[in-house]
């Protein structure tokens, strides 16, 4: 953009129309302003999309995907991959899921209530729990975190 402006100024001075420069400068400011607003808007969208990975997990609900353009979906997939690679590279052989326990947990197991039907849910020792609406369960915290964030389970504080 700056190069275009400079070459324009050069043409103008050669043609002897330097009186037009203030107006050209004003219009140029307007173009830069529009460019800034658009860039900031798109960048803010990306920051929110990035936050979605931490809020919802790696699968986005369809109503959110609907509002994203294909480039944003692509960006999200690449971010997911970067994050997954990073998590695999820390914490030894199994990797470390850093999207869990983002706040220091107070207890290992928590009481949860199911807010909607979610079907069968397997926990680490192989037991299968049926998540039916309004059922309550006492489950390991780390298994529930993502479902709590997605609004499927609700932490019941006694």
């Amino acid at each position: 953009y700056i190069n275009v402006l400079d070459s324009l100024y050069l043409c103008i001075s050669r043609a002897g129309r330097t009186d037009l420069i203030p107006s050209i400068k004003l219009r140029h400011c307007c173009l830069l302003r529009n460019q800034r607003c658009l860039s900031a808007y798109l960048y803010d969208r990306l920051l929110r999309i990035r936050a979605l990975r931490w809020e919802y997990g790696s699968v986005l609900p369809p109503n959110i995907r609907f509002h994203m353009c294909s480039e944003e979906l692509q960006w999200f997939n690449q971010y997911k991959k970067s994050l997954a690679n990073f998590m695999r590279s820390v914490g030894g052989e199994e990797g470390l899921d850093i999207t869990q326990d983002m706040k220091p947990p107070k207890s290992l197991y928590i009481e949860v209530r199911c807010l909607k039907d979610h079907g069968e849910f397997e926990i680490d020792d192989g037991t299968i729990i049926l998540l039916k609406k309004n059922s309550q369960h006492f489950l390991p915290r780390w298994k529930c975190e993502q479902l709590i964030r997605q609004g499927v389970l609700e932490h019941v504080m006694s």
């Binding site: 009186d19 400068k25 920051l47």
Partner: protein
């Protein structure tokens, strides 16, 4: 959106704006009373009060900060920007006397931000303006910190309403760790 994961671009510090900061974009939208110091040919349509094809030299207009910054040049006279009332001598004396009294949110929510940006226009009062901004912030900081840390479980909205945007940004980070700490001692 959980405040933990969404980290928007913060406003710039001092005289620098952050290009992608939404706060800075809103800040630079503020209009300043200005005067054109040269002719702007063919842009007469921007200025509703006259029918001229051009904007004449000496026209008084209200320009948004982003345009004022873009057009202003130190060596050439293109535009001259008037200092808004809050940064002039009269108000500076008020701030000097007691900075905590003023409702900074009402004086345009970006008092510190806009004040810092005004320094770009080479006013002879720049040193005084900069001093006033600094002293006002220092004067208010202690008060707002004290009242917010001692208002556990009370409604602080009356206090927060009178804060400038920069002061509000300072609040959450100061309060949170402290409040999460307290219950352990209260049990």
């Amino acid at each position: 959106m959980d405040s933990q994961s969404y980290l928007p671009v913060p406003p710039g510090v001092g005289m620098e704006e952050n290009f992608l900061s939404l706060d800075d974009i809103l800040l630079s939208h503020e209009r300043l009373p200005s005067r054109t110091e040269c002719l702007f040919p063919r842009l007469g349509y921007l200025e509703k009060s006259t029918d001229s094809q051009d904007i004449q030299e000496g026209t008084k207009m209200e320009l948004p900060l982003w345009l004022a910054k873009g057009l202003y040049e130190r060596k050439r006279r293109v535009v001259s920007i008037e200092l808004p009332k809050v940064y002039r001598e009269g108000w500076r004396t008020v701030f000097n006397a007691d900075p905590t009294v003023v409702d900074l949110h009402k004086m345009g929510p970006y008092y510190y931000g806009l004040g810092s940006q005004m320094l770009h226009f080479d006013s002879p009062e720049n040193p005084e303006i900069a001093q006033a901004l600094l002293q006002t912030f220092i004067g208010r900081f202690r008060r707002t910190m004290d009242s917010s840390q001692n208002a556990y479980n009370e409604d602080t909205s009356a206090l927060v309403d009178r804060l400038d945007s920069l002061e509000r940004d300072c609040q959450p980070t100061l309060l949170c760790p402290f409040y999460e700490f307290l219950p352990r001692f209260c049990k």
